[in-house]
């Protein structure tokens, strides 16, 4: 995770329309550095539908096809099939969607693409709510969080949907989580995904200062603390769902520290914070146990 080799070529311009400190923009910048020019993006309704800029401009230097909210995965499947029937087997096709377009409205089409194992990279830049429409809860919104549809008097009581597990159940060749705080790791994972045939799913934690009620300069800080506080584990699932590798080589930090500068958690009382922190720890332990369990079954990871 310490290897510092970031390509210098920029495929994303600075003239985009994102908010200050936008994690989704940083995610795109590094992802494109990993993927290179031979890439086509399929973007559904999400922040990036706007960040790209207004017609006739575009903030990225590769082709983008904007598509309807729930269709990122299958539109990408169609693009890939269309390219291959023209004899182009080289271009990487990437569906690039937010958590609403992935966890919620786009789940069905994504499941279809993954079940067919269509040869695309599906990226969910996860900012944990419907940020483009102005911060409404999604099924990716973590427990305890405020949004405009989960007001502080009735904050989100249910945990974040485990999208990684759902994708693992599809037995696809590559699944990874990444964080914009670890660009070298993010680039490595995108390069790895690019080299694998089949459906690849990468979920990138992309803090949203606007929606998280966080100072923009703390965006990367939060993306790092989410990992070190075990809220957002960095993992890879390979061998068609049979091998789980969890990154553990970090100094653990507290859940309380992670949520402190985020206004979306400000209403939580001490006991509520403790309760949620307990949940974070048990999810982490369950993840480690599964890693161990899968590794203990002989012949499973081949």
């Amino acid at each position: 995770m310490r290897e510092a080799r970031i390509p210098t070529e920029e495929l994303m311009g600075s003239g985009h329309l994102a908010c200050q400190g936008c994690g989704a923009t940083i995610a795109m910048r590094f992802a494109l550095k990993a993927l290179g020019r031979e890439t086509i993006l399929v973007i559904p309704a999400c922040c990036w539908a706007v960040i790209d800029g207004t017609f006739p401009h575009s903030a990225v230097d590769i082709p983008i096809f904007h598509t309807a909210f729930e269709t990122a995965a299958v539109t990408a499947s169609g693009v890939k099939a269309g390219l291959e029937m023209r004899g182009d087997f080289e271009t990487t096709v990437v569906a690039w969607a937010g958590d609403g377009g992935t966890f919620d409205i786009g789940l069905q089409a994504l499941s279809g693409t993954a079940e067919r194992n269509d040869d695309i990279i599906y990226v969910c830049y996860d900012n944990e709510a419907y940020m483009n429409t102005g911060i409404q809860r999604s099924s990716s919104t973590p427990v305890g969080s405020w949004t405009t549809t989960t007001p502080v008097t009735n904050y989100k009581k249910r945990p974040k949907k485990n999208m990684v597990d759902i994708m693992a159940a599809h037995a696809i060749p590559y699944i990874a989580t990444a964080s914009v705080a670890y660009p070298e790791d993010l680039i490595r994972k995108f390069k790895k995904a690019k080299a694998i045939k089949g459906t690849k799913y990468i979920q990138v934690l992309a803090p949203c200062p606007t929606g998280w009620k966080l100072s923009p300069e703390l965006s990367i800080w939060a993306a790092r603390k989410a990992v070190t506080s075990k809220v957002y584990p960095m993992l890879e699932i390979t061998e068609n769902g049979n091998k789980l590798t969890v990154w553990k080589d970090f100094e653990p930090t507290s859940f309380k520290e992670y949520i402190k500068p985020q206004g979306r958690f400000r209403h939580l009382k001490e006991n509520e914070i403790e309760e949620i922190a307990k949940g974070v720890e048990s999810s982490w332990q369950r993840l480690l146990a599964r890693e161990k369990m899968l590794a203990s079954i002989p012949g499973l990871d081949t």
Binding site: T39, S58, D61, G78, V79, G82, L83, M85
Partner: protein, 383 residues
Amino acid sequence: MKKVVMGNHAVSYGVRASEVKVISAYPITPQTHVVELLSELVANGEIDAKFIKVESEHSAMAACVGASAAGSRAFTATSSQGLLLMTEMLHWAVGARLPIVLTNVNRAIGPPWSIWTDQNDSLSMRDVGWIQIYCESNQETQDAIPQAFKIAEEVNLPVMLVLDAFFLSHTYEIVDLLETEQVRDFLPPYNPEIKLDTNDPHSFGNLASPDYYMELRYMIEEAMNDARSVIKRVGKEFGEHFGRYYDMVVPYRCDDADVILVTSGTVASTTRAVIDEMRDEGIKIGALKIRVFRPFPFKEVSDILCSTKKVAVLDRNISFGNHGVFYQEVKSALYGKTDIPIIGYVLGLGGRDVTPKVIREIADKAIKDKNPEPYINWIGVKR
């Protein structure tokens, strides 16, 4: 080669002849045989295409949109609820100006569940921007597919081909099957100038401000208007290649007719038989089949209907609160051109059989009916 095939299989053979590169579809009664035969033709190599077997019709159209944007010829088939589920992506295909072809088997919409024919599914898509062509026989159903791609690829608009559930989809007729090699001269391979291309990167469909949106819509309307002459020319060219000519409308014994029955789909054939019978009795009656519904053939319809004394429009559909859809359209085509009576008849919904007897009843009634009360005549409704 002539073969006895069902309407659904005529669709699949039309797709085979048109060298489609990406097929994406989801099964629904009564369209299922289309996708079954296509699966077989792709599996045995008779069609060199990828078949994306999606989990919904919404995804079927999204996959076609992606494939077409990447520069490949794309096809899907559906019916009824499936077409409705596709609605959002039908709009997307139009806005993105993608020449996708879709065959829709006309089936009534639930509830209550009905698998039988009527036109409310396709006609509820009339304002979307798809060219719509209504087929009357299995031969037409097959022939329409290469024509549809030729039209679509010239005007950059998608084309919806429509056939009646069961009366065509499941009915076996003799069809002169098109051979791929023959069709190649008529329909060259699809190689669009504008497509997703990493050597020429563009952003397609991104946010357009009010300064641009209206012009892009205007261009769609221009393309729809251009399609009129393209459809006529392509129908003629098809005839020159294969001996079967197609046009926007098909008049039958209209020249000296006092009454003209306006029809579409399989009702058109039944009507012709009734016209012959009535002509034998000395009654001056004719029929006009509307083949192309979008763009609506205003000129053809008004040229033919203005010479008669009374028009009866047979609608296998209902636009609740405002007559049958063909009635509305015919009336608007004739507005300001004539003051002859135009009477609407709604019939055959949910697959209720439209027999020669039913058509005869309408024809006799139309001759007697005074304009224009009542506007809508519900035929055969048990009250």
